[in-house]
């Protein structure tokens, strides 16, 4: 039973999120500006904060900065600003994730769950020799198993091999041809399209919002890579 603080100056949005999160079994607190959010965190045990950026009194960015002075509660920013600079600022200031408005409630729940799992349970997991971890994604090569936030994900062998290739070299960009040659063990010959399709399927399985991937990223015109998270 986790407590989630919802903070937005639009009361209808807070209510809607409240309904969704309550139905998922979370306890919720409400705040309508940054100051109320700080107060609520002081007075209650809060496990996660959903925070809007544009708010009166104290905006989300400042409130996040204040909270980060003495706490590592997961904070997910809700923002109507879709500009990259706002996301970068939010993440740099200490937010753990962001969701752009207008958001899909299911995505919010998924991200909340993901953050909570990482915050509460993943901390002290044993690290076996064949275990590759990037963000919430873990790939156990000995068990040939992939988990996202501890939840096992079913992958086809090709998808598994692509993911393993990318995860062994986090941050490195692999072109479609390189991936094809390494995974299929065949010279790439006009089959690059296949890689793209497999990557998209893989992304749908491990990303919360495949249209806005956080980890498995497309580097347009160059290839694909696994990122440690964030943008």
């Amino acid at each position: 039973m986790h407590t989630i603080l919802i903070c937005d100056d639009d009361k209808d949005i807070v209510s809607a999120l409240d309904i969704y999160l309550t139905s998922e079994g979370y306890k919720t607190l409400r705040a309508y500006n940054g100051k109320e959010a700080l107060l609520a965190v002081e007075q209650n045990e809060v496990h996660l904060i959903l925070m809007d950026i544009m708010m009166p009194e104290l905006d989300g960015i400042r409130a996040t900065a204040k909270l980060r002075e003495g706490s590592n509660i997961p904070i997910i920013l809700l923002t109507a600003k879709s500009e990259d600079s706002d996301k970068i600022l939010g993440l740099n200031i200490g937010a753990d994730d962001y969701i752009t408005k207008p958001f899909n409630p299911l995505e919010v729940i998924a991200r909340v769950k993901s953050q909570l799992r990482r915050y509460t349970s993943l901390g002290g997991a044993d690290k076996s020799p064949g275990l590759l971890t990037v963000g919430p994604i873990s790939l156990d090569d000995s068990a040939k198993q992939v988990t996202v936030d501890g939840e096992p994900v079913a992958l086809t062998p090709i998808e598994y091999n692509i993911l393993r290739l990318l995860m062994t070299h986090p941050g490195q960009v692999f072109s479609s041809a390189q991936i094809y040659e390494q995974v299929w063990n065949d010279p790439a010959y006009g089959s690059e399209n296949t890689v793209a399709v497999h990557i998209r399927h893989l992304r749908e399985k491990i990303e919360i919002n495949p249209a806005d991937p956080r980890y498995l990223k497309v580097v347009w015109g160059l290839g694909y890579k696994i990122d440690k998270g964030g943008l």
């Binding site: 209808d12 809607a16 408005k101």
Partner: protein
């Protein structure tokens, strides 16, 4: 120095001092002149005054002899005798050595015997004691004494002729004698009389002349120094910057010139008269007259010098204020005429200017040929005139070249360029200024448009941001509705419509922001080397299922090897994303989509061809405008912004975006610069 110049009391004082110095110099100068003229006569004994005084004394001696003769005749009654005795005593007293420096001797007719004298020292001869010796004949004719003065001085030869027994001066005279007279030499003079006064005066002239001259020069120098100071300070006013023209300085220069000319002329005309008068006065030792002359001369000369100084001052002030030409009538008339002609010439149409210039040139050449006086040098003026014309033409051409260059720069798009209009001929200058005004106006118009575009983009961003918040609630509550149990099946339908439309609204707001940002260039562009084929394959991978769902077969034609372009991968993806999503939305189902990459000259192009489901009833240019779709009824899911965004993004990356519509065939070509 400045304080000295601005002192209020100093300047009038300096003027007064100047006038005083001038007067003193004039006074002393005249004295010097008098001395000069006096020395021209030579000795004091040669002056008119000396002669006059001497003659008067001689006639006094005659009176004395007459009285003596009257007394001797015995024909007088008692009263007459008493009167005569008194008179005689008075005359003798007047002629006594104690009263006068005049000395006389009455000699017998043969000159051998001295009958009477007032000479005291008889041990020495008359000539050694007396200077300026004259003589005359004294005759007694029936009791009447006559004196006939010889007009020549007594000399040694005269004495000789007398002592040699010269004949008596007159035949019919009963008796005759010789009167010899003169004035004691200056060193022997003991008495204050008219001769002594004359001597003092004349000695004064002779002795003080150089002193007067020197003093006059000294005063002149002082006056000149004062004048220099006054000229330096002239025109400045305390508390005022620059040169101030007083009313006196505004009077036409010609008035001053005329006053000066009249003054100088009068002075020159009067000078000979003055000189004559002065010579006379000196000659006659007329001190009243000399005083009057000095006064008049000083007044006239002083007035002239002051007039001169004032004229000089106003000239200097005018020159300091650069107003000499402005305050001179002649200059103004000439300048007025020149200006009228220049104005007339300037307002002529260019063609008429050429005509007038040509006739002026002809006139100049004619003048050179026929009016030039030096026949040996006849080609010189013609050559000079022609050279001048050549230089003028070259200059004009150079100026025109400059204007043309400037115009080309402006025409090339540099609207901020300003053509240098300094030192251009009048017509070209006006032309260049007009061009500058055009470019200035264009710059302003472009800036205004940029500003309004940016404002629009900002407005759209803000509005769409404000739209997003309520939209979030709508989407969330529609979702909540979907999860609730609905008994009425139509309600379920309605909720589906709401869901679809809210999703579309979401897409629309996102596209709107993107379109406005892309078209105003508010997006950051990070260009790098990008593989076009790789990108196409990635995009096709993303779209595979969507296109298959519409039964669209992709025919992909790419050249051997990778085609690298210099572009921003994310923006380029958005371009291809929009094109492929257009295919998915508007292509006729069951047809083929041809996607081709081909290399051009220094560029790489990607073309997407498909057959439109609906007739394309708008020209391709319109298709790229915002909110325009192939069919006008806005029922399909697109926002109408896709092609506009694609075009803007392509152009942001330095590429070109082209649309071709041929019947139902829709073709988009994206061309980007090749990466080396």
């Amino acid at each position: 120095m400045k304080r000295l110049r601005d002192n209020r009391t100093l300047r009038p004082a300096a003027w007064a001092l100047f006038a005083a110095a001038v007067c003193a110099a004039l006074l002393l100068g005249q004295q010097f002149l008098f001395a000069l003229w006096y020395t021209q006569f030579g000795d004091w004994t040669t002056t008119w005054a000396f002669d006059t005084n001497l003659n008067q004394r001689a006639y006094q001696v005659q009176d004395y002899v007459q009285l003596q003769a009257d007394l001797d005749s015995g024909s007088l009654d008692y009263v007459e005798r008493e009167q005569t005795v008194t008179l005689l005593a008075a005359t003798r007293e007047a002629l006594s050595p104690e009263r006068t420096n005049f000395r006389y001797q009455i000699l017998s007719a043969d000159g051998a015997q001295v009958l009477d004298t007032n000479l005291q020292d008889s041990s020495q001869s008359f000539e050694t004691q007396v200077t300026g010796v004259y003589y005359g004949a004294l005759t007694v004719h029936s009791g009447q004494v006559d004196f006939t003065a010889k007009s020549e001085p007594w000399t040694a030869s005269t004495t000789a002729s007398y002592s040699a027994g010269a004949p008596a001066p007159s035949e019919d005279s009963q008796s005759s004698a010789i009167l010899r007279y003169g004035v004691l030499k200056p060193e022997l003079m003991a008495v204050q009389d008219e001769f002594r006064s004359l001597l003092t005066l004349c000695d004064g002239y002779a002795a003080n002349g150089p002193l007067y001259g020197g003093l006059a020069l000294a005063f002149l120098g002082a006056a000149a120094l004062l004048l220099l100071f006054l000229l330096w300070a002239a025109g400045h006013r305390p508390g005022q910057e620059g040169i101030v023209l007083s009313p006196v300085d505004r009077v036409f220069s010609e008035v001053w010139l005329a006053a000066l000319a009249v003054g100088t002329l009068l002075l020159f005309l009067a000078f000979p008269q003055y000189q004559a008068e002065a010579v006379w006065a000196v000659d006659e030792a007329d001190q009243t007259m000399t005083a009057v002359l000095l006064a008049v001369g000083t007044a006239a000369g002083g007035a002239w010098v002051l007039l001169m100084a004032a004229a000089l001052r106003t000239l200097v002030v005018r020159m300091k204020a650069r107003a000499l030409a402005r305050t001179t009538l002649l200059c103004r008339v000439v300048m007025f005429l020149v200006r009228r002609f220049v104005g007339f010439f300037r307002d002529l149409p260019l063609a008429w200017k050429a005509v007038v210039s040509f006739f002026l040139y002809l006139a100049a050449i004619f003048a050179c040929d026929h009016l030039w006086p030096l026949h040996d040098w006849y080609p010189v003026p013609g050559v000079v005139v022609n050279l001048a014309v050549l230089v003028f033409l070259c200059w004009w051409s150079a100026c025109f070249w400059r204007v043309r260059k400037g115009t080309e720069v402006i025409a090339a798009g540099n609207l901020n360029h300003q053509i240098e209009t300094e030192r251009l001929p009048g017509d070209l200058k006006r032309h260049a200024e007009a061009l500058n005004n055009i470019s200035g106006g264009l710059t302003q118009a472009v800036n205004e448009q940029m500003k309004s575009e940016r404002f629009k983009a900002e407005l759209i961003t803000n509005v769409s941001h404000d739209l997003k918040t309520p939209l979030t609630s709508i989407i969330n509550y529609v979702n909540l509705l979907k999860t609730t149990e609905q008994t009425d099946p139509t309600a379920r339908q309605y909720i589906d419509v709401l869901d679809r439309k809210s999703q579309r609204l979401k897409k629309l707001t996102e596209d709107l922001v993107e379109a406005s940002k892309a078209s105003t260039g508010a997006l950051s562009v990070n260009r790098e080397k990008i593989g076009m084929v790789q990108l196409l394959d990635q995009a096709l991978g993303e779209y595979e299922e969507k296109l298959e769902g519409k039964h669209l077969a992709v025919v992909r034609a790419v050249p051997e090897g990778e085609c690298y372009v210099y572009a921003d991968g994310r923006h380029l993806w958005r371009v291809i994303d929009n094109l492929l999503s257009n295919c998915a939305k508007y292509a006729l189902e069951g047809t083929r989509v041809y996607i081709e990459i081909f290399r051009g000259k220094g560029s790489v192009s990607l073309s997407v061809k498909n057959v439109s489901r609906d007739p394309l009833n708008v020209p391709p240019e319109r298709l790229m405008e915002r909110f325009v779709r192939g069919e006008e009824s806005r029922t399909t899911e697109g926002s109408g912004l896709g092609l506009s965004i694609a075009k803007s993004l392509t152009e942001l990356q330095g590429g070109t975006f082209e649309l071709v519509v041929d019947g139902d065939l829709f073709k988009a070509i994206v061309t980007l610069p090749q990466s080396s």
